[in-house]
C-alpha cells in the first residue's frame, strides 16, 4: 500500500470518508515523515501533539458522519500566519518566542473546516526573499537535486522563496498541502522550483487579518499543494469575507473544485510577447510553446498579446514593496513584543533592537523604503511607482477587454539554483527571479504556477497562468489541462530520510 503521506489531499480526503484509514493514522504517517526530514529544515516548529489531538476530533466527527470539508487532513502552516498559542516568528529573530493570543483568519478557516496542523514552516525573513536564504533560522534544502553526469549531485538546491518551507514540505510529502503567502511571487516561484502547484488568488480573496504584514497592498495568502485539485480544495476553505480586513472582498467563495474539470474549450489564452526576455533559457521558451500547444489541443484559442509596461513592474515593485514594508515593520521597536536590546535612551533602544533583530535583507528593504518615502524623494520615487502601477494594471485590463480569458507565461526565468549561488553583492540579481510573477501582484490579479516539465539538469520548471480579477475558477480549469498534458511531476525519492 502507498504510504499515507504520499497521497494527494483529494485522495486522502476520499480515503478518510471511505474509512480506508483513520485521521490518526494519516496524521501519524506525516509526523513520522516530518521527523525523518529534519535535514531539509522545512519545519521551524513541529506540533505533533496538537496534530494528533486534532486528528482524534476528526475521527470522532467522521464516525458520527459529521465530517467537514477538510476533515482530518494534515497541513503545514507558513510561519507568517499567527497561530493561537503556537510560536510565530516570521522567520525573524525580532519575533523569536512570540506567542500570538489570536488566530489568523486563514488558519482559523482551515481549522473550522477540520484540517490538522502539523507545524510551522520556514520562510524568508518577513517573506523577503526568493530562496529562503534570508530566514534567521537557516536555509531550507529542496528535496530536489540536480542530475550531473547521470547521477544526483550533492549540491544543496534552494526551494525558492519566500514560501520555501511550504514548497519543500509539500514536494517532500511532509504535509498534504501548505499555506503560503505571495507579495511578488512568493507562492508561485517556490512552487515552480519544487514541481508543486501554487496559487496566489486575487487581492482581497483571502483575509490578511492575523498574517504578519510585509507590503499590505500586495500581500495575499494562498495554498501550495501537489495537484491543481488540491489547491482548489484548500483555497475554497482559506478564502472568504472578513470584516476585520477592510480590503477583503465581500464576495461568496465559488466552488473552486467544481471548476477544475471544466476544460478550456472556447477560452482565449493570451501569450504576452514582452515575457520573451533576453537571456531566457531555450528550454523555458520551448516549454512555454508546448504549454500553448497543449491548451490549443484542448480547445482553447491562442492569441499573442502585448503588455507593454511589463519591464517596469519589477523596478516599480522595489519602490512600492519596501515603502510599505518600512511602514509595516516600524512596529518592531522592542516595546510590545519580541526582542529588546537596551540603549542609552529610548531611541537608542529602538535602534539597537532593530539592528540586532532584523537580518541584512530586511534592513536593506526598510532603508530603501525609508529613503523613497523621505521628504524630497516621495514624488520622484513613490508617486511615480504608483502611477506606473496604474499603467501595468491598464495593460491587463485592455487584454481582458479584448476577450482574453487567461494569460500564459513561464513562472520563473530559470530553474532552482544552488544555495549560495546568487549571494553576490548586488541584491538585484536575486530580485530578477520574480520578473514574471511580480506584475500579477502589482495589478492585484490571480496567478497560478503549475509544473510543466523538467530541465536538462532534472529540475522542475513551471508555467504561470494569470486570470481576470476574482476568476480563479478559469485558472484552475486551465491549469488542470496543463497538469494532465504534462503528466504529474514525479517527485524526488526520500534521500533525506
Amino acid at each position: 500500500m502507498t504510504e499515507l503521506n504520499e497521497l494527494t489531499l483529494a485522495e486522502a480526503r476520499d480515503g478518510l470518508k471511505a474509512k480506508t484509514f483513520s485521521a490518526r493514522e494519516l496524521t501519524q504517517a506525516h509526523i513520522t515523515a516530518v521527523e525523518k526530514a529534519r535535514a531539509l529544515n522545512a519545519y521551524l516548529l513541529e506540533t505533533p501533539e496538537r496534530a494528533l489531538a486534532m486528528a482524534e476530533v476528526s475521527d470522532a466527527k467522521i464516525a458520527r458522519g459529521e465530517g467537514r470539508p477538510l476533515e482530518g487532513l494534515p497541513l503545514g502552516i507558513k510561519d507568517l500566519f499567527c497561530t493561537h498559542g503556537v510560536v510565530t516568528t516570521a522567520g525573524s529573530k525580532i519575533l523569536e518566542g512570540f506567542e500570538p493570543h489570536y488566530e489568523s483568519a486563514v488558519t482559523h478557516n482551515l481549522w473550522r473546516d477540520g484540517a490538522v496542523m502539523l507545524g510551522k514552516l520556514n520562510l524568508d525573513e518577513f517573506a523577503m526573499g526568493s530562496s529562503n536564504e534570508t530566514s534567521a533560522y537557516g536555509n531550507v534544502i529542496s528535496p530536489w537535486r540536480r542530475r550531473e553526469n547521470g547521477a544526483l549531485s550533492e549540491t544543496p538546491i534552494v526551494p525558492g522563496g519566500s514560501s520555501g518551507g511550504s514548497a519543500a514540505a509539500v514536494a517532500a510529502r511532509l504535509c498534504l498541502g501548505a499555506t503560503a503567502t505571495d507579495t511578488g511571487g512568493s507562492i508561485r516561484q517556490p512552487a515552480a522550483f519544487t514541481g508543486t502547484v501554487g496559487i496566489k488568488p486575487t487581492y482581497g480573496r483571502c483575509s490578511r487579518w492575523g498574517t504578519v504584514a510585509f507590503a499590505s497592498s500586495l500581500d495575499q495568502a494562498g495554498p501550495i499543494a501537489r495537484t491543481v485539485r488540491d489547491c482548489a480544495i484548500l483555497l475554497g476553505s482559506m478564502a472568504g469575507p472578513d470584516a476585520r480586513d477592510t480590503t477583503c472582498a465581500d464576495l461568496p467563495v465559488p466552488d473552486f473544485e467544481a471548476a477544475v474539470s471544466r476544460g478550456v474549450k472556447g477560452l482565449t489564452i493570451g501569450i504576452p510577447k514582452e515575457y520573451r526576455v533576453e537571456g531566457m533559457p531555450a528550454e523555458i521558451q520551448k516549454l512555454w510553446d508546448e504549454g500553448a500547444r497543449w491548451l490549443e489541443a484542448a480547445g482553447a484559442r491562442i492569441v499573442e498579446i502585448s503588455l507593454p509596461h511589463t519591464r517596469y513592474a519589477l523596478p516599480a515593485y522595489y519602490i512600492v514593496a519596501p515603502a510599505e514594508a518600512s511602514s509595516n515593520l516600524a512596529r518592531y521597536d522592542g516595546v510590545r513584543y519580541g526582542l529588546r536590546v537596551p540603549g542609552k535612551d529610548i531611541a537608542g533602544m529602538y535602534e539597537n533592537t532593530r539592528a540586532a533583530g532584523f537580518g541584512r535583507e530586511v534592513k536593506r528593504r526598510i532603508m530603501i523604503g525609508t529613503y523613497v518615502l523621505s521628504a524630497g524623494y516621495y514624488d520622484a520615487y513613490y508617486v511615480r511607482a504608483q502611477k506606473i502601477r496604474t499603467l501595468i494594471k491598464r495593460d491587463f485590463e485592455q487584454a481582458y477587454a479584448a476577450g482574453v480569458d487567461a494569460i500564459l507565461t513561464p513562472a520563473t526565468p530559470s530553474s532552482a539554483f544552488g544555495i549560495g549561488e546568487k549571494a553576490s553583492a548586488d541584491p538585484v540579481e536575486m530580485y530578477l527571479n520574480d520578473v514574471f510573477t511580480v506584475t500579477v501582484n502589482m495589478a492585484g490579479l490571480p496567478g497560478i504556477a503549475v509544473p510543466a516539465g523538467l530541465d536538462a539538469q532534472g529540475l522542475p520548471l513551471g508555467l504561470q497562468l494569470i486570470g481576470r480579477p476574482f476568476d480563479e475558477e478559469t485558472l484552475f480549469a486551465t491549469a488542470q489541462v496543463i497538469e494532465e498534458a504534462a503528466g504529474r511531476t514525479k517527485l524526488p525519492g526520500a534521500w533525506w530520510a
Binding site: 516600524a330 510590545r336 529610548i346 537608542g348 532603508m367 511615480r384 506606473i388 480579477p469
Partner: protein, 95 residues
C-alpha cells in the same frame, strides 16, 4: 540618483536601525545597486496618469464606531519584554 555615506547614516537613523561604521560602505553599495535598477522608471511617460490607490475597484468597508472587542489587557501585554500593571515599560523619555 545615488546615496553617499552621510545619506546612508541619515536613512538608518530615520529607520531607527543602528548601523556600524564598517557597515556603511557595503550598505551604500547595495542601496545604490537598487536605486540604479529603479532608475529606468524615469523614462516612462506618466503625464496624466493617476497614481494607484486601490488595486481592486472596491469601496473601503466601513463599520459603526462602536467598541467591538476589549478587556484583554493581560493578552495585550503578554508578549512585551517589560511590563508593569498592564503598562508597557520603556526607558525614561521625559526628565
Amino acid at each position: 540618483m545615488s546615496v553617499d555615506a552621510q545619506t546612508v547614516r541619515r536613512i538608518a537613523h530615520l529607520a531607527r536601525i543602528a548601523v556600524s561604521e564598517a557597515d556603511v560602505a557595503p550598505l551604500q553599495g547595495e542601496l545604490n545597486a537598487i536605486l540604479a535598477f529603479v532608475e529606468q522608471l524615469g523614462t516612462v511617460d506618466v503625464a496624466d496618469v493617476e497614481p494607484m490607490t486601490s488595486v481592486t475597484p472596491m469601496a473601503m468597508k466601513k463599520r459603526h464606531d462602536v467598541v467591538t472587542d476589549g478587556g484583554r489587557a493581560e493578552e495585550v501585554v503578554a508578549n512585551a519584554p517589560e511590563t508593569e500593571d498592564h503598562f508597557f515599560l520603556v526607558p525614561k523619555v521625559v526628565e
